[in-house]
Every structure is written in structure tokens, then in C-alpha cells.
Amino acid sequence: MKKIKVGLGTCGISAGGQLVFEKFKEELKLKNIDAELSETGCMGMCYEEALVEIEDDKNDVLYSKVTVDKVGRIINDHLINGNPVNDWIIKSNEFSKEESFFKNQKRIVLRNCGVINPSSIDEYIANDGYKAIQKVIEKYTRDEVIDIIINSGLRGRGGGGFSTGLKWKFAKSTQSDKKYVICNADEGDPGAFMDRSVLEGDPHSVLEGMMIAAYAIGADEGFIYCRAEYPLAIKRLRNALNQCRSRGLLGEKIFGSHFNFDIKIKEGAGAFVCGEETALMSSIEGKRGVPKLRPPFPAQKGLWGKPTNINNVETYANVPWIILNGLQEFAAMGTEKSKGTKVFALAGKVKRTGLVEVPMGMTINEIIFDVGGGIKDNRKFKAVQMGGPSGGCIPASMGDLKIDYDEITKTGAIMGSGGLIILDDTTCMVDLAKYFLNFTQLESCGKCTFCRIGTKRMLEILERITDGNGKERDLFLLEDLAQKIKMASLCGLGQTAPNPVLTTLKYFREEYEAHIFDKKCPAHNCPSLITYHIVLEYCKGCGVCIKACPTGSITGNKKEIPVLNESLCIKCGKCYDACKLDAIIKV
């Protein structure tokens, strides 16, 4: 029997996947075709959504960019007549248009994403689901579990990179009548969606990871702190939790042991700082999400003062795989100190935007050019922004850098949770720093002086620079403030907020200087520092620019070269985008 899987992660749904799914359902019923229709999670190729996979014994065909209109022909040609629609296929047993995308990946965390139906516990179980927790309960002592995780080399995938096993060990060694495990699913970096895809595509793997952690540290209660902006993830988690409870996988005496455990979902209200573990716990407790000084660490005094283990989604999702496949297999991947794989959300000026999982140790260039297919429009690769607002920019010249926690930290950026924003030569680095600082500035909880007011003042300096009012002393002020904010902030948000500025200052200082001294934006991006000109040689007098201009600053008659009145121009760039002849340039 044929099996039809429609990618219904958030990426798939927003590309019309749900409508495609409904259309298939309708057509299959109408035409009375015996095929199994199911949903699945994100397959990683977000740029090709909606994706539909049709499986049978012989072949496995993946259609990309499927719309409702295409459904009829796929059913007709492929399902009824057995002739796959070759034009729309992106990958099949015989060929793959995007071979390099898959070839270079190693999917551990994403092992079930886009493969199984996330709403079906049976499919998860069929793919070795809950075997790890069973194995742990039946075979290992709590210390043994912790040793496995320590020796696997798994480090926190939320960004900090602290050894997961050690974290568990601390939580286990604190004596208490009550302990908690928390899954941090408050993914808030702009451009990052790794955790969302895992929760949507394979919620059970996260639950299983949490169960193993709970068993190891001796907790009986767990929380998943998930942002309310992830409704689909929350829906699938709820469903998964109910399934677990009805199967006895959560609750009392799990697998007949003395291990009792249950999980609650706590929806976060979208404050970025709640991704910081102490603020997150404060939020679960029903208080304002504001960080506290560590120590005491959560492993000593966490939720409601009890020892608590917090890991993020991706970390937990790794755990069952390590238990089942063995720590050696995991530790075999990666570099000396960074083991296993890392999931990245590719975004920005890269051809293939989407979700990828690569072994640690792969270089940045490999990710961008081999997995990501290179830079859009074949422009010049300039830099990659890693780690979101807490991270930094790594210049193209360092493209051979290996993905490794410590190597990346050395550059001034951080591994972060996995946001990779690829930048080309049209990106202004000052503007980029401004963007991220604006984000952290707005998302600062407002508790500490440096983070609350310091980031605001830094932002104002950056605004001054991009507006063409920068002063020589501004660079000193930026660096000075940045250092002080890093030195004297309570939580990670403040301590890392200046990173985007510091790294761009480190690698792209000349861009700042051009803004300040020459009053020029080398990337032709900052409106205050550019002017638009019409190049007479290229202009054919088509008049598109006249129509595009919202302020009437371009005037002229048809077939004549139009005139641009600079005093009226608001530098929106509409004419530039409209002109097909490249006759409008930015200077």
C-alpha cells in the first residue's frame, strides 16, 4: 500500500501544506484510492515546502513545492497510473536534486523528523521509541546513566555547552525530598527554529530524554517551558503527554519500577529572557521572569528552591539515541571536545534555508556551501552570524573554522542554540549589530543597570553612527560600554548582549570607520548614508521607477531619462528594486 506523508511542521503549514493535506484526503476519498495519508514533521528543506513524500515498497519519492493545484496530477499520474511526476520530484531512489543537502548531514536529533507521524506514539515506538528509557530502568543504575552521558561528551545544546552529564551529576548529588527536571523550550533567538521543529516533528524523543534525566537525578516531576508562540509544538506535546500517560509511560511505577514521573507544560509569554534558566524558573513559579545570581545553581537550588535539572529540547532529544546506540558511537562523531551532531537553522542569504543536522567538526564553509548550497544570487559570502543576539559574526575569512564549542567561543561568537544567519556583501555590519542589540535591548528584563540602560545607550550610539552622526569617540564608547556590560550583568542576556557589536567591531571595524569618518555605508544599506542615482547609459526611460517612487521624487516623461530629486527622496529603495536594467544605483 502506498503511503503519503505531508510535511506539516510550521514551515510546511505556512507553505500551504495543510491545504495540500486536505486536498489529498478529499481526492483519495473521491477517487477511492487505497493509500495511507499521514502527516509528518519538518524534513529540513523549509525552502522547498510544501513537501509530499509518497512511499511504496519500491520507491520513495519526494515532491517539493506542492500546491493544491498539483495534487490532482500527482494522484492521477503517480498513484493511479504509477508514473511519478518527474518535473516536481526533488528526491527519489534514483536521483536527488539536492543530494549535497542530505549527503553531508547526520541526523540523530532529527532522526524521526519528517519520517514519522509526530501525533502517533505507535510510530515513535516502532522506531525504537521508549526503548532507551526501558533499557535505562531495567539495566542501569542512576550513576551508570550519568556516567554514560558524561562519557558520551554530550554538551548542552542550548548554547552554554556545559557537560550534560555533569549537570545531572550535580542535581543527583544534592540531597532533597523533591527534585525537578525542566525542558527549556523557550527558543527565542531571531531566526532559530531548531527546537520548534523537533517538538513538532518528534515530541516523544524529548519526553523520553526528560524521563531518562528524571530517572538519573531522582526527580518525579518535570516541566516543559515552551513559548506560547509555538501552538503546534504545544498541541503535539500535549497529545504526546496524554499518549504516554495512557500507556503508563508517565505516571507511577513506570515499566513496573519504582520510578514515578510526570510532566507538565508551562507556556511562556514570549519573553526572551525567560530562556535564561533562573528567569525561566521564576516564570514557572508564577513570578516576573527575572534572572537571579548564580550560584546557587539550579542543581543546588532551583525551582521552588529544590534541585532542578534544566536542559534544552535538542539536548534531551540526543539522550535516547545515545542510550540505544552507545556512547562510543556518539563520541565518535565530532572534535576532541565537542561530540555528536549539531542542529542548525540556516537562514539569511543562503540558497537552502532550513534545518540541518551536521556532525561536530564540520567547517562553516562546508555547512554553507555543501549543505546550504551556497550564497543566494551567487553574491559574495561576507560573514555568518552565529548564536543569535548573544552570539557574534564570524567573517568569511574564517570559513574553515570547525564547528566546535571552544573554537567558536574563541572568535567572540558562541555556538548558541543553532541559529546560523548567512550574510552577503549587501549586509551592513553596523546595521546588523544594531539589529541584534535592538533585540536584546527590548528583551532585557530591565533588572540590571548595565543591561537596562547600557544596551540602550549602545544602541543609540549605533543609531547615531548609521544615521551619519557618528563621532570618533563613539568607537571607544561602544567598546568601553560593551566591556562594562559584559563584566557587570547578572545573567547571560546582559553578559552576551554586546557580542554582536564586539565581533563586528573586531572583524569589520573599517565599516564602522567608514560610517563615522567618510559618512559612507560600504554595503550601501544605511539610508542616511546613501543616495540613489540614475545611470544614464543604462536607463531606457521605461518609467517604472517613476511609478515605484512613493514620494514623487522621480519625475520625467516616457522615453526620456527621468530626474531624481534628492531632497524629496526618502531612500526607501523602491525604485532600485523596480528597475530591471540596474540603471539605478546606490552611492
Partner: protein, 1252 residues
Amino acid sequence: MEQINITINGKEIITSPGKTILEVVNENKIDEIPTLCHDNRLEHFTSCFLCVVEIEGMNKLVPSCSTMIQNGMKILTHSKTVVESRKTALELLMSNHYADCIGPCKNNCPAGVDAQTYIALISMGKYEEALKLVKENNPLPLSIGRVCVRDCETACRRNIIDEPVAVNALKRFIADEDAVHKWKPVLKERKNKKVAVIGGGPSGLSCAYYLTIEGYSVTIFEKLPKLGGMLRYGIPEYRLPKKILDTEINWILSLGVEVKTNVELGIDFSIKDLLRSGYDSVFIGVGAHKASKLGLDGEDRIYGIFRGIDFLREITLSYIPQLHGKVIVVGGGNTAIDAARTALRCGAEEVKIVYRRSIHEMPANHEEIEAAQKEGIEILFLTNPKSIIADNNKLKAIECLKMELVEGKPGERPKPVPKAGSEFIIDCDFLIGAIGQAVDTGFVKFDNDCSLEKWGTVHVDNDTMETSIPGVFAGGDVVTGPLTAIMSIAQGKKAAKSIMGYFQTGHVNKSSTKYYSLKNKLTKITDREFEHVKKLAREKMKEISVTDRTHNFQEVELGFSETQCQFEAGRCLECGCSEYSDCQLRKYCDEYNIDISEFVGETKKYLVDGRHPFILMDPNKCINCGRCVRTCAEVLKVSALGFVYRGFKSVVKPAMEKALSDTNCIGCGNCIDACPTGAISEKYPFKILGTLPKENNETICNFCSIGCKINLKKINDEIFYVANTTDSIKNSHNDGFLCSKGRFGYRYLLEKNRILNPMVRKHGLIYNVKIDEALPYVELKLKSIIDEYGKDSVAIMASPKLSNEELYLLQKFARVGLNNNNISSFSNMLYGFEQNSLDDIAGFTSSTVTMDEIKNADVIVVINSNLSDENLVMELKIKAAQKKGAKLILINSSEISLAKYADLWIDTKKGTNTILINNLIKRCIADNVVDHHFLSRHQTDVNKLQKELAETKEEDIYRYCELDKEKYSEFLNCLTNINANIIFISNLDSTSDKSINDIKSVGNFLHLTGRIGKPDNGIIILREFNNSVGFSEMGSSPGYLPGYVKQSEVNEIKRISETWNIDLTNIFVDTDLARKLRRGEIKAILIFGEDPLIIRNNKKYFSGIEFMVVCDSFHTDTTAEADVILPAATYIEQSGSFTRCDNIVQLAPRIISGLHDYENWSIIVKLARYFSKEFNFNSVDEIMNEIRRVNRYYKYGGINKSWIKEYFNNGYNQQVINFAATKIDLSTFDPVKPVIHYQENYYFSNVKSKLV
């Protein structure tokens, strides 16, 4: 225990673990680490990041307030990085602190005169204090009040709304008020240093004044015949009458300044001469008397041309010239206007002013320009003289040019340029050029020592006013060129300060400038923030009419009337911060020498919220330290305040951004003391007196028996307020926390209806008399009544708010002086209830445990108390104990606020608590939860108790108390653990639900379980008044002699009799005073501090009264009917002691001098002496000494120490303990019968407590 070894600033310290770095630094007094968000009384928060320190090996700074010490830590608390970081933190905070530390008026005044504060003083009618404040920075207010250029008014924020406050006119008013110079500064001890001041103008006078009051000898050298400088020779009589100037100068000279006139520097003497002849320092304050030339051909030659400043000087110096015809004055400054108006007064028929720019650029005072125009002087703007037209060396006319203004350089005035061909001619007979002045620095050539600036002024260091010659200073026009009198005064004072420093240290130190936050430093102030301010027109000063003034030199402006003054003072917006002198933020800004200029950016602006009756919230000043939020949540558990928004926008606001009074705020005001800035401040019942120094005075609150320590901040004897901000207050038994009565109740002491002097009513008329007349009159009347009706016909009533000393004297007066037992208080006599509940058990009815022990309790039972309303601070102590794990059980039939904090609320039916406790006791006996050891040590009878309880049934709990089983069993669980520390808290005078005998039952329970005298166990009995306990301990009621001595205690009575030299046997007898009063048996009554007649019904006790003496501080309904009224001091006007609920005697010192020169005890002593010689007291201490001898318990205690502890350890063992009988009539509680809600007593005490 394990010890930790750390190094702080190179110093090794061994200490115990579990402390923060800040704690260790403070304990060892290593450094004073700044912090704004930390408060010892709250949990760590860590937000301001001022307290950062450096730890060796760490690449970041750590907040010392919450970082725990660890072995081997090497800490630096004041490294360069640390200091830099703190400085930046403060700069960042201040860059978003949209507020004024001081009024812009003070800020803009060159001399820094605090106009806002003196205006506040004016509004309170404190003119002399206002003047004193002015003279701190300006010794010439009479003159300056007339001629100042008023930079203060330019800066006044009223400009944005309507017109500036008439600051200068207000100053003139207070100076005029003081014209006879009642006030003189106290001169400091003479110092052996001489200063020569050259020039007797404003700067010289100012310098001389400030040096003289500091004790230095000053001689002024003046080249002209009289002192005053430009004030005398440059300002015409009609603006500043010379008589006024003379008064002011003579006042300064009268302080001991020597003067030498008609001697000129550079001609008669040199600076070197002065230094050689014994002057230790020299101040050069010569003026700018050299007029600038017009630069026109023939101006020196042609007859009829003067120069403005010469013209004005000559008039003062010699004679008034007779002018005629047409006069033209050239110039736009005050001198030009002065010359023009003077010319008019010298006989000119027509005066015109020619000025090259427009009216907007004119430097003269706006008022002066207007006045000149009113007087008919025409001003030709945009006009400049080109040449002089003369006939035979006699002036005929001038040729002028019209001018045009062109934009100048940024920040400069527009430039006038001649319009080509615009020449025209104006006829004139006289021409006065008043286009500028310069300093004649010829003396420099003579001296050849001090260096000059480019413009011919003397070069000085602007911070110190020191010239290039060491020890020689200069100020005023000689430094600035012709500028303003107030600037000269400012520089004169600055130089004086430097000279003092020079004398003291041998070198000149730059004075540190204070940091002031000012709104305009951050952003432009828009009129939006003043939208709610009512427009009020500025008062116009009266002046002589134009016709009456233009031909003479009479002073034109007549000054403000007092009414005008008060109105004008009311227009002040009070920009400067009320917390100026206490603001920690500002203090640190000075300490770290901050400069916000690089961080000026967006500033959050909020409207000041004054909707709460007592609390003013100005979020503009908030620095997000959260101390108020945390105090409200952690200590009060009220959470009326919280943070709103995130990031840069986050700020503290009342919950849901409502008005604070619309939240669950209980108005305790503890947030005010928590705030380290002025973001939350009190709405003071007076105007803001920001910069005036305030004195901290610790005393005791006099509102309830908790006896909280309060800090009365005093500005002067009439202005004070409560602010619990000092460290010692924060370490007091109330941790510095107060309820709203304690926090804001001081306001009654500021009220105006005080009794000012003794009064006697004769034949229905009331007369003011002297105390020495009033007292013999009282004696006479009392003695005649005693003669007529016998000794029992006089009674003394004393308020439980009086001090121990007063109360002791009063009861002794009754017993020893009047030989009767008629001593009581109306409140106790009429509404007192169960005041002897514990007598049988402990020997006295008072607390058996101290408040400090509450924190160690496992179970706290609150019964018969509504703490939230009556004793909030006790509630806070309970909440703190709950945090440490204590359980709170509330026994109360109605749901009072405390119910929501109780771990168990026993909501018995009204009046049935005794059944509950009796059942508890029965269960204890049944389960053997009894302290046999305790019982064996005392003479007791458990069997008797058991017998009495035989009828008590558990089912009664459900039947009569209507309590459910679950609650009752939880109640038993909590209270039947013999090892638990259990403290009961009960308010004997509470209006909350009570029942008969319940305190007795509690007494039985505590006794049976050995919890009397056992640390951390027992009962705390709260009382209504601050000295209700002292009242009992002093024996002020008919039932007790001092020390709770009862009539049965023959030996004690004998002992006291001996001390008092009187036989008390027939005096200390059963007395029902209420009955005597009702029956009219009492004919004369002396009432101290009570107001029984506030309740009309109490009139019935006065039916027999023929003579009534009332001693009180304020007029009351009772004083209104008194025959003699004696004025009493309030408790802050005298010293005395008060006993708080846990029997600790606390001293309340005299804080303000008060209205009367005697303290209350001395009136009682004087009066009592007429009746007995046993009142030989000369001080409160002597009274206390006798109290110690008489009160048997006081040998166990002392001031600030509870006698109970010692007593329980020593004397208590002899105490016979009897279980109290607590059998009650259940029929009244029968569910079928209607419930009695309130007895009469409750009603009255309830009403009364609200009225008092």
C-alpha cells in the same frame, strides 16, 4: 565550625562560611561599598551593580551583595576596574533620571542661592529662616533684592506655564522685613589671620562677610569715599536708595570689618605693600568703572557728551546736574536704561535710547525696559550713531544709521550691520554713551605681578579665584569684566572659601563640585508635563505712578505686601527634590564624580502621581532597585507595587498601573523608607525644604504598645517628619518598619490648635494666666473642696499615653498628696476589660515573653486581635517568623485581614473561644501533654482545674463554636506538641472579637504546659495605648500600687508606705471610681491628657464636678469645659520613658524645645508639693530612680531591657500559681438563642478607638 580564609584588599580575614562578600567587608569595616538595591532586611536582589568587586582570576566583576565568600578568594573592593564600573553604572542610572535634585533657580543662580527652599520657608511664614538661608550665599539681599538680573527667574520652570515666580521680589520682602536686622550670624572664634580686601563693592563685601563670620580679620580698602561699589556708584537712587544700601553695608561692617576709604590700589598702595605690612592674604575686588568710548569723532571734545557710568557715579559722588532739552542715550544694557531714566529725573524734556539691535537682544532687564518706556523714554532699535553734529563745540544732533541683523555664529547673538544709505539725523542737547565698561587695571603695571587676561581682566583659577600671586585672590568685575552684582557676590564668597582653605592647609584646594541631576541636562522640557498645573498670573509689584516719579529720585518699586508674597510663594512648582539631603544616589554621584554627558539619550518621562493621600510616586526618579517592591511583597506581603514593562521601559508602578490608593496598598509608607532616591516620597504636610540640613532623632512611636522606634527628622522646632532611614533604626526591634499611624501620625504634632498658655475660667470667662498664677489657684480650689467634701472628693485621671514618670507622679499625687485612691484613666475605667486575667497565674497581667522571641516560635496563635489595623508591626514580625517556618493560627470569628496569611484560621462563633481553649486544655491533660517538672516547682492544683473542666465537652466545639472537625483536629495537632515553641498574641484592648475568660484559659494552657517563663514561649499582651503597660506598672489604677501590688499583699504595701512616708493601709482600699463619679461623689477632677467628653455620654460622670482641671497639649472637648487648663508638652518636647507591650522600658528624649519652658512632670511636682513634701524631684531621672526603688520588678530590668527575663530566672520561683477559673455559662451561646453581637463596652471602645 569550618572557617573560611579570604583576602580582601590584601588583608587576610578568617570568618565563617555562608556570608556574602558585602557582609564580610562591612563586618570588618574594610571599605564602604556602595549599593542602592541592597537592604539587609530583604532577600538579595542584585540589580544596581554598584557593589561590584573584583575577584582575582575571574574575568568579570561580581556583585558583592549576593556573592558568597569561598575559601581562598582574593577580593579587591576598590580597584580601578571596580571604580570605573561603578562610575559608569551611576552615569547610566543618571542618564535616565529625569528629575531635578535642586530647583533650576538655585542651579542658575551664580551664587547658588536656594530660592526654592527660601520660598518654601516664606510660605510657612518663616521669614527670618528664609533670610538666613539667603545670607548663606548672598549677604546683600536688601540690595540684590532690588537690582538683581534674576538668573533664577530665567530658569524658573513656571516660564513654560505662564510667568516665572517673582523670586527676587520675595527675597526683597524678607530682606525688608528684616531691615532692622534682628538677625546676626554667630561669629566663630577669632583667628589670628588678616585679610585685605581691595574694593568695597559686592564682591569685596561678600568676601569680607564670609571671612569675618569665620573669625578672620578683614580690612576693606576703597578708593571712593563710601563702600558699595557699583551698587552705590552705578545704580541710581530710584532703583536702590542709598539709605537701604547703607543699612546693609553697615550691618556687615558691624560684624567687625575695618574700612579704609579714599585709598586706591596702584596709587596709594600695592599688593606687595599689603603682604609686607602683615596681611596674610589679599582679595582684589575692584570694579569696572572705566567707561567705553563711543568711538565717534569729537566725543571727548564736544560739550554735552557724557559716558553712562561716569554720569551715574558723578550724581552719587557730587551733585545732580541740571539737564534740559533732548537727551540721547546710546546702548542697550542696564546702564543705558539707568542713564536714560536718570537723565529724565535730571530735567531732560525728552530722552531717547539708541540701540543697534532689537528688543530681543537687549541685555537690560525686561522690567527696566518697560519702566523706561512707561516713563516716556523712546527706544530706537536697530539704530547706531554714525557721527556727532556740533556747532562750535556744542552738541546739536547726531547722525544715525539704521541697522540690519544678520545671523551670527551658532550660539551667538545676531550681528547688526548698517543699512547703506539709511542715515538720518536726531537733534539732541546731550548725548550719553553707555555701551560698556572696563576694568582699570593700571594697578597691575604698578605692581607688575599679577597676570592679566586678553581682555584686560585679572587672570584667576576659576575654581579657586586665586591669581598668579600665591595668597592673592580676585573676584567680581575685575575678573569677569563688567558683569552682574550676584556674580561678584558669588566670586567673593568663593574666594573667601579658598582663602580659608589657604589658611588652614597652606595651599588652595579646588572645591569639589556637587553633582545635580537636572531635567534640562537630559532633554528638552515640554509643556506637556505641566498640563495639570493651573495658570496663575505673577504678582505685580506696586510702584509709584509715572507722574510722581519722573522728576525725583524716590524708589520706584515698592515691594510686595505679605499677602502678595504668600500668593507668589504659592506659585512655586517645587522642582527640587524633597529627598535631596538623604538621597543615596546623589551621594554616590558626588563620590564617584560622575559625568553623564556621554550618555545623554532617550529619557523616560512619567507624570508624578500624587493621588495617594500620603505617598508621592515619581517614577522619573526610579532606578529599578526594587526595594519598595520587595518590601511590599516580602515584608508586608501586600504587593501593591510591582515592575511593569521590560528593558529600558521597565519601571516600578502600583499594581496594574492603577493609582496606588486603588490597589491593596495599606498606606504603611514603608516603601518611602525603602526608596534610596526620591522616587517614592512622602507627601509632606509642608513645602519641600530639600537642601536644608536635617537632624536625625531617634524616639519611640506613641500610637500603640509595640513601641516602635521611629526617627524624627527635624529641620527645626516646627518642621519635622518621620523617616526610618538610619542604620540603627533598621536594626531596632521593629526593623525600621512602621504602620501608617507610626509613619504619618506625627502630623498631629504639627497641628496648630495647641494650648499656648495656662487658662483660668472665672465667672464663665476664660483668662490667660501665668503658670505661677494657675497652680496656686488650683491649690486653693482643691483645698477648699477637700475642706468641704472630704479627701475622697478629688480624683485624678491620667492618660495611658503619658510617660512612666508622669503616671508615677500622678498616682503618688493622689495617694500621698490627696490621700485617696482615686487614680485611674477614663479609657481603662470605662472600657478596660479583663485587665487582671493573668494576675492569679503570673502575678501580673502582662506579656510573659518578649517580641524578639517571636522569630523562634513554631506556632503563633493570634487571638482577640486585629493586628493589621491595630498593631501592624506585630503582624510583620509574625510574617517574618512564618518565613522561618512558624505556623500562624488565627482565632477570630470574623474574617479580618490576617485571616489570609494564617496557616489555620479558627473561625469560632463569637464569644466561644474559651470553650475551644478549655477543650484544648482537657485534651492536654488527657494526653498527658503537661509539663510536670514546671508544675512541680510551683504550688498549683491541677486536680482543681480538671474538676472545673469536667463539664467541658468536645462536642461543644462543634455545637457552640460551630467549628468543623478537620480544623479542630489540626488545631489540636499544632498545639498538643509539648516540644513546640508556642506564643500567643492577644490585644487586651482590641475591638476585635473577644469572649469572656479566654485570656485566662490561655493562661491556664500556657501554665499547664510549662510555657510561662520558658524562652520562646508564652503570651504577648498588646495594649491600645503606647504606655498602657507603664500605666499598670506605675500603679495608676485603684487596684494596684506600682509593681502590680494588690490589696492582698500586705508586706509590699508596707514597704511602699515606708518609702513614701505615709501609711497606705487606709488609702489603698477598694475603690469603684466609676460609681463615685456617676453618683456625683467626686467634686473636683484633674484630667491629664484625656478627652472623655469627646463622647457625650460620658457627661454622666461629671454630674458632681464643681472644679475641673485639664492638662493637655491640644484644645479638646474636655478642655472646653475645664475651669483651669494647663498646657502640656507633647512627648517630643520633653523626655520620659514608656513601657512597651513586652515590658521593656524605652526612653523618649526631648527632641524639640517646645512651646513651654517647663516639662509636664514639673507641673505635677509643683502642684503635689502644695499637698505633701514627698515630691522632692528635680529631674525625670530622679523620678525614675524612685520608680526603680518602689516597683518590685524593676530591680530585674532596666532601660531597653525586659525585667521579665530576669524575673522568670530569679524571683518567679516563689510565685504561687493558681489556675484561673474559666467556667462559662453556655446557655448564652445556645444555637437556638439569638447571638449577642456586641456588648455595650465593645461598642464604645470601638467608637472611641476610631475617634481618638
